[in-house]
């Protein structure tokens, strides 16, 4: 009889509990770093909906991240302080932009897709960099107030690192759960089918273009959500978020962690940040050492660090 791949939820549950309790035991700075890992992890998991599941390498995710951040910054500047409104607006703006970019980009494949998304991303970057009146130009927008949350009469603010961490944690947990649902839904299976063989999808009646646009838009929306969180966490929105070099971060993280595993990119984000912190501790030439460490990761971990280790220890003999 047909059996689905056993989704072992023990690991994710354990991880959730660990993340929930982490602030109680680790120092404040690491709590903040963990917030950043979660935010970038969300960006990477969103990107991986394209890279790992749909087989599209987007080099323009920074644009949607930045749009989320700018939306949040501008709303806060205008006095909107409703947390949900800001989160949703950031997602929506990113979603709309991704629909437009996706509409033009998805008919291309591989490196052409990467290049056209890079081009579109850099156009957004150019706009943010030059539209002084709205985006603050190259300096970006500083953010002074944070939204608050009225929870059963309690006014919850996020000015302390711990409160901010839990805000990030909850939003990322929900977002990643939603992405998990999507990846395992019928739509998710069609995405994987497109990754394997887009011609075949079209010859079983799937409209590859609309399906890909949908995937691109969803990925963009969640990337935008990560951008909103990043803006709240750092109190800023800057054009740098839209630059291609920022877009390359989630790609690096996904590959380090493993694009074939749902949570791989999240682990990739963690590995990336921790590696960086450790290297910086010892040398100013962290770029050199990051490069030296990345090379064997690419060469010897074909499914990413997390993916390869998982396959080695848990899935032996499945193939």
């Amino acid at each position: 009889m047909m059996t689905q791949n056993n989704h072992n939820l023990l690991g994710p549950a354990l991880l959730t509990i660990l993340l929930l309790l982490a602030p109680l035991v680790i120092p404040v700075y690491w709590v903040m770093l963990l917030s950043e890992i979660l935010i970038m992890g969300l960006m990477a998991v969103s990107l991986n909906l394209l890279l790992g599941y749909t087989g599209l390498l987007s080099f323009g995710q920074g644009a949607f991240f930045g749009l989320g951040a700018y939306t949040a910054a501008l709303m806060l500047q205008a006095g909107y302080e409703n947390l949900f409104l800001i989160l949703l607006a950031g997602m929506l703006v990113a979603l709309l932009a991704a629909l437009v970019v996706g509409f033009f980009s998805v008919r291309l494949d591989e490196i052409f897709f990467a290049m056209i998304t890079l081009g579109f991303g850099m156009m957004f970057f150019s706009i943010a960099h030059n539209w002084l009146d709205v985006t603050g130009g190259s300096d970006g927008l500083p953010v002074f107030n944070l939204p608050s949350l009225n929870l059963f009469g309690f006014q919850l603010t996020f000015y302390t690192p711990i409160n901010m961490y839990y805000l990030v944690f909850v939003v990322v947990l929900i977002a990643i759960s939603l992405l998990w649902l999507i990846v395992h839904s019928p739509f998710g299976l069609i995405l994987k089918s497109m990754r394997e063989n887009k011609q075949r999808v079209s010859f079983i009646g799937g409209n590859v273009k609309t399906l890909r646009i949908a995937a691109f838009a969803i990925s963009g929306a969640f990337t935008g959500l990560a951008g909103v969180l990043f803006c709240l966490f750092n109190n800023m929105a800057t054009p740098e978020f839209m630059h291609w070099s920022f877009s390359s971060k989630p790609i690096i993280m996904s590959i380090i962690g493993g694009t074939g595993v749902f949570l791989g990119p999240l682990f990739g984000a963690g590995i990336f940040f921790i590696l960086e912190q450790i290297i910086i501790q010892y040398t100013e030439n962290w770029m050199l050492f990051l490069g030296i460490i990345l090379i064997p990761i690419v060469l010897f971990f074909p499914q990413g660090v997390f993916g390869t280790l998982r396959n080695k220890f848990f899935k032996q003999g499945s193939k």
Partner: protein, 409 residues
């Protein structure tokens, strides 16, 4: 019984010693955040050298309020989010008492709100945007270096003297370049209402990553101005000067002002390829004054690093001394006490005597300009003659800055 008393005594002694020891070993911690890697790491290196020299001197002289100083250096990479992470590390992990640093204007402008939340004083030593002591100023943020408005005000005064009527600009295509030009227009217009400025679409703003300036050089030359105000810096400036030189730019019949032309890293790289007789400005010039303090700084810096101190080295060096002075004034290194002590603090630094204005926390400091000249004994151009614009003449009134520090208090 006796044994027990003894052991208690010994334990007590240990506790006492360790408490005293801990107290004696406690240091004053300063967190420095500069660009330590990537294309602009030279600036971070200069700053680090300046800071380390100051710390060494201060420690040799007994430290700050009797405590030794410990410096922590973190890499901003020139990106706002990374810089903020570095600052967080200083505040939460290294537990510093004081923050010093920041090269990029964009970084400075966007991390400032977080500085206020972390309630740790910061002295900015390089970033020039008027906004950090203007529209986004806050109680914890100070700046010791010359800001854009001050530098450009001096340029405008100089421009007026040249008598040139029609001005244009070449500036990097980001906020710094555009703001420099806006301030220049504003100040020069005030000083000499008959001056004209080329409209925005006729001036040259090469993108920051430009390496080939020929098209811009052509553009400026063909617009036939009387004066060109140039706010390029670093590698852009070096490339521009060399290409402009080979295209006859400096032989043309117009005045040229380089607002950041007297930076040592630029002059050193260019050597004798820097034309003589050009007006160049800077935030600090190592030959600009003969004070004992400046002499001492230049000599000991040269002795230690084999080079003349750049403005960024000077900024970091001076900021450490400013902190020392504030701690002395406050008789404490408590963060709030330092903030209060820094407000209105008057102190001599190598470039001259400065004062952190209460109203916006900007240091009122002199602006230096000069003409490039060859000089025996120097591997690069020096400034001759030097023109010093007094701090009070070039610093805009607090009311003009947009800072509402006083009002909020």
């Amino acid at each position: 019984m006796k044994k027990r008393v003894l052991s208690i005594l010994i334990t007590l002694a240990f506790v006492l010693v360790s408490v005293i020891g801990a107290h004696a070993a406690s240091t004053v911690k300063i967190g420095f955040t500069y660009i330590m890697s990537g294309p602009f790491s030279a600036y971070g290196q200069f700053a680090k050298q300046g800071a380390e020299l100051a710390i060494e001197e201060i420690n040799a002289a007994g430290g700050i309020n009797g405590q030794q100083v410990e410096g922590f250096f973190e890499d901003s990479t020139g990106k706002a989010d990374v810089a903020l992470r570095a600052i967080r590390k200083h505040v939460y992990q290294n537990k510093v008492d004081m923050l010093i640093g920041l090269d990029s204007s964009g970084v400075a402008k966007t991390v400032v709100p977080s500085i206020e939340k972390m309630q740790t004083p910061l002295i900015i030593t390089h970033a020039a945007t008027p906004d950090v002591t203007g529209s986004v100023c806050n109680k914890y943020t100070f700046r010791i270096s010359l800001n854009l408005a001050q530098n450009v005000k001096a340029a405008a005064l100089l421009a007026k003297e040249t008598g040139a009527k029609k001005w244009t600009t070449v500036g990097p295509d980001y906020s710094f370049g555009h703001q420099s030009w806006e301030y220049f227009e504003k100040y020069l217009q005030e000083l000499n209402p008959t001056t004209t400025f080329l409209p925005k679409d006729q001036v040259a703003f090469p993108p920051f990553k430009t390496t080939d300036f020929s098209a811009y050089i052509t553009k400026v030359m063909s617009s036939k101005p009387d004066g060109v105000f140039i706010s390029l810096w670093g590698g852009n400036l070096i490339d521009f000067v060399r290409q402009a030189n080979s295209m006859g730019f400096f032989n043309a019949d117009f005045e040229v002002l380089f607002s950041l032309g007297a930076a040592t890293e630029v002059l050193t790289a260019l050597g004798d390829k820097m034309p003589e007789g050009l007006w160049v400005g800077t935030r600090y010039w190592f030959l600009a004054n003969d004070s004992a303090m400046n002499k001492h700084f230049v000599d000991s810096y040269f002795k230690k690093y084999g080079a003349y101190p750049s403005y960024n080295a000077h900024g970091a060096y001076s900021a450490v001394y400013a902190y020392k002075a504030a701690a002395k004034k406050a008789k404490s290194t408590d963060k709030m006490a330092i903030v209060n002590a820094l407000e209105g603090l008057k102190i001599e630094i190598p470039t001259g005597t400065i004062e952190f204005r209460k109203g916006d926390h900007q240091a009122v400091t002199d602006a230096h300009w000069g003409k490039t000249a060859a000089a025996p004994g120097y591997p690069h151009r020096i400034l001759k003659p030097i023109k010093i614009f007094k701090g009070q003449d070039v610093t805009p009134a607090v009311s003009e800055t947009g800072c509402s520090l006083g009002a909020a208090m």
